[in-house]
């Protein structure tokens, strides 16, 4: 069994209104020096598969087709055996 953790975030250059709001809030709470906040999501998947390579190919496809929108988002992932 494998566990894949997919990280999806807005691409650089795409304004992140949530991140901006959190940044302003942190500044008002006296946390100085926060230059940028970006909000993303983590998607965890448990997969029954024959090999890590196979999982990698599958996840790559899932990201491209559904989990991320390439117009505005970028993704990365890590895979571990569990």
């Amino acid at each position: 069994m494998y566990l894949a953790r997919v990280f999806v975030a807005l691409k650089k250059g795409v304004l992140d209104p949530q991140g901006e709001t959190i940044k302003r809030s942190l500044a008002s709470m006296d946390f100085p020096g926060v230059e940028e906040v970006r909000v993303g999501k983590v998607i965890e998947l448990k997969l029954d598969a024959v090999s890590e390579d196979h999982v990698r190919t599958q996840i790559e496809q899932m990201c491209k087709k559904l989990l991320a929108n390439p117009v505005i988002e970028e993704y990365s992932f890590e895979i571990m055996e569990v």
Partner: protein, 232 residues
């Protein structure tokens, strides 16, 4: 003219669009359940507003893979008229039938109010009953209507005159104050290059009858009928 209104789980403007098409402009209109194949012999498909699949993952992202969408893609590729309103617009961008994406509103709020739109051009099947430069008043109701496209795509969209509606002031001025959600270039409605697929965030079906106070939206539906009749 035969209209099909697609119903996804979570659509909530489907009945409104059907009512306007069937009872106000008197067209043959049926619902199409998202798990059914798209019926043949439709002349126009409407993807209505709502919250398909609870807006999970991204708005429109799951609906885009509903079984009916295969037929919608094929229909669009053959030149069939497709109108996506609000969530329907989001589904169309997710499906790649329209460029760009709709992101969370810049102020993070769900915006529900009438806005002014400037009609950018009337040479489309959806706007021929209007004039370029007309200002119409149409309600919006969305949390994710902040249109984004990267600079190259945006330039191409503008060069091809694909922007059909822009948020503007009552006087027709397109500026930041009139932009309710942060959309690039105040884009409220967009057509594909081929000119048969339109997506718009505002709801024309919510302002198509005197009895509910506003009637500017009816012109979008009348345009579709005009276009189809002119083509017969």
């Amino acid at each position: 003219m035969k209209f099909g209104v697609v119903v996804f789980p979570g659509s909530n403007c489907d009945a409104d669009v059907k009512h306007v098409l069937q009872d106000v402009v008197n067209q043959d209109t049926r619902f199409v359940w998202h798990k059914d194949p798209l019926p043949r012999a439709l002349d126009c498909v409407v993807l209505p507003g709502g919250f398909s699949y609870g807006d999970y993952l991204r708005t429109g992202a799951i609906a885009r893979f509903s079984p009916v969408m295969e037929g919608v893609m094929e229909f669009a590729a053959q030149g069939g008229l497709v109108l996506g309103i609000c969530n329907g617009f989001q589904v169309l961008t997710e499906a790649g039938l329209l460029p760009g994406a709709l992101m969370v509103n810049k102020n993070l709020k769900f915006m529900c109010k009438p806005v002014y739109l400037r009609v950018e051009h009337n040479g489309t099947p959806f706007t021929n009953a209007l004039n370029a430069g007309d200002v119409i008043e149409v309600p919006i109701a969305h949390g994710e209507g902040n249109y984004f496209a990267d600079p190259e795509v945006l330039e191409e969209i503008e060069r091809n005159n694909q922007v059909v509606f822009r948020y503007c002031t009552r006087e027709g001025v397109v500026n930041a104050q009139a932009n309710p959600n942060g959309s690039v270039n105040n884009i409220a409605g967009l057509i594909n290059k081929e000119g048969n697929v339109l997506g718009m965030m505002p709801h024309p079906e919510r302002c198509s009858e005197e009895v509910i106070g506003r009637v500017d939206g009816i012109k979008v539906f009348q345009s579709i009928i005009n276009w189809w009749q002119g083509r017969k």
